[in-house]
């Protein structure tokens, strides 16, 4: 069982990277992430006149994981439909939760790596005070942020089974996460209802927690933020699982899953 899970996860990773050579991988995965981080940090520098860009480096490094978790993971079932594999997945006796989980292994790995590499590179470019950094706190914040974002990505991967507008949905969600994460401006600047919505979006709490890892120590607020983020992530996983169960039943009954 574990062996099969690992081989499927590995196969999925190979499918994701199959078409890229090393240069393309670096340009697509690393280059875009770092350029996007530099882009937002330079806007922040020009808009606010701030020289210390730590907050933006941290926030945008976290926000970059959406490329893998939302865009990458969100279209996994859509790709299966496109390549004619979806019917095999639905009729196979394998638990759909397992299927979802092996898709997530690669995304977790890449999202974690994206945040760490972008943060380190952005930090070196913009000279953030690494000596003030509590590495343990930051790593914990990154791990929980990735867990939640992957859960959020699963939810959209499942939703892709019942909509033909998944690219529209994912792009809108990607920008909304950037807005509600507080990576580029304080969420308190937004209207009250938008501030409330931010609480049900991933990264809102983990970005705040990650910012506390500079010159800070483990505190109850830090713990509360990360527990809140982890619970939110758990809710996304449960919702995805329930939703895929419902869709699976509908799919078997109607046999129209591959048709829009």
């Amino acid at each position: 069982m574990i062996r099969r899970f690992c081989s499927q996860a590995w196969l999925n990773a190979k499918v994701n990277q199959g078409g890229l050579d090393l240069t393309e991988f670096l340009a697509y995965r690393v280059g875009i992430s770092i350029t996007t981080l530099i882009f937002y940090c330079l806007i922040a520098n020009h808009a606010t006149g701030q020289i210390d860009l730590t907050r933006w480096v941290v926030g945008n490094a976290f926000a970059l994981c959406i490329y893998e978790c939302i865009f990458g993971l969100g279209i996994c079932f859509n790709s299966d439909r496109y390549y004619g594999r979806l019917r095999s997945i639905i009729v196979s006796p394998t638990s759909k939760l397992t299927v979802i989980m092996y898709y997530g292994v690669y995304s977790i790995f890449i999202a974690f790596l994206t945040i760490v590499v972008s943060f380190a590179t952005g930090g070196l470019i913009f000279g953030i005070p690494f000596n003030d950094l509590n590495l343990g706190m930051l790593m914990l914040a990154i791990s929980i942020a990735v867990f939640t974002c992957v859960g959020f990505g699963f939810l959209f991967a499942v939703l892709a089974l019942i909509t033909d507008s998944i690219y529209l949905l994912l792009n809108a969600i990607g920008l909304l996460i950037i807005i509600f994460s507080g990576a580029n401006f304080p969420v308190s600047q937004l209207p009250a209802f938008a501030q409330w919505i931010a609480h049900i979006f991933p990264l809102f709490r983990s970005v705040q927690a990650a910012n506390m890892s500079f010159g800070g120590e483990f505190s109850s607020l830090f713990g509360q933020l990360l527990i809140g983020e982890a619970i939110l992530g758990l809710v996304f996983y449960v919702m995805s699982f329930i939703l895929i169960k419902i869709i699976e039943r509908i799919a078997i009954k109607r046999a129209t899953l591959e048709i829009f």
């Binding site: 393309e24 520098n45 020009h46 808009a47 529209l168 792009n171």
Partner: protein
């Protein structure tokens, strides 16, 4: 079919096809609003000049660039997947005119996204948009659109032979906005990157556009002349690129292989 009809027909078909795609509806309607919110909030506490020149104009330019270049490059990929790329390439009507029609179709739709950005920024931020010089604004805007079209044709040709159009398209979006100073002045970039910025027509066009909206430290001619030179250079490069691609396509015969 004469050239004018080819361009017009291709443009109309492109607009109809594009408008039916949900993703383009995001690019036209949702993207401009969300980009304006991000940039508007980032520039909220800066002076009104900066807000207009970088948040409003910047969001508009980001969407214009995404619509024209991103979509035009993507259209090559879509034609390939629909098995029509080799057909439009070998049809008696010139492929260059068909591609130009497609890009013009995207441009017309993209203008709507630019307008939406300006309207949304004015209404949402209750910030009156003032213009320093209307004739310059109109001229600079037309030149900006022309600069984007020239770059788009260049990129579309460049990606004609590639099987990884989607990857390269994504690699171009944000880096180009960064290098050409859509949302902050290129003076904020390191010197060696600024030299790269100077090579692209949109850099100069955007500076002219900004001049029309707010007071700037640079003059008209010091931007207009480099703009014309870079546009001519890119047009020559594009014509040369087409000859190479046309030849390669005939030799390789793999245009429709994805």
């Amino acid at each position: 079919m004469n050239s004018k009809s080819v361009i017009l027909t291709s443009m109309l078909v492109q607009m109809k096809q594009t408008f039916s795609r949900n993703m383009f509806k995001f690019t036209l309607f949702i993207g401009p609003i969300l980009h304006t919110i991000i940039l508007g909030e980032m520039y909220r506490n800066s002076e009104q000049d900066s807000f207009i020149a970088y948040a409003v104009l910047g969001a508009g330019l980001l969407n214009l660039w995404t619509c024209i270049a991103f979509s035009s490059a993507g259209d090559i990929n879509r034609e390939r997947y629909s098995n029509t790329l080799s057909i439009i390439f070998s049809t008696p009507a010139d492929f260059r005119l068909i591609l130009l029609g497609k890009i013009l179709g995207n441009t017309v739709l993209a203008l709507g996204s630019f307008l939406l950005t300006v309207i949304f920024a004015t209404v949402f931020y209750r910030n009156p948009i003032f213009v320093n010089n209307w004739p310059l604004l109109i001229a600079a805007f037309l030149l900006t659109v022309l600069a984007f079209i020239i770059i788009s044709i260049f990129v579309a040709y460049l990606l004609t032979l590639s099987r990884k159009t989607e990857i390269y398209m994504n690699c171009l979006d944000i880096p180009f906005a960064l290098i050409c100073g859509f949302v902050f002045p290129i003076d904020n970039l390191p010197q060696f990157i600024r030299f790269i910025s100077y090579l692209f027509p949109p850099t100069w066009a955007v500076r002219l556009l900004r001049m029309a909206v707010v007071e700037t430290s640079y003059g008209f001619w010091e931007n207009f002349i480099p703009l014309i030179i870079t546009m001519v250079v890119f047009s020559i490069l594009t014509a040369w690129l087409y000859r190479i691609i046309f030849k390669q396509t005939k030799i390789l015969g793999t245009l429709e292989m994805a």
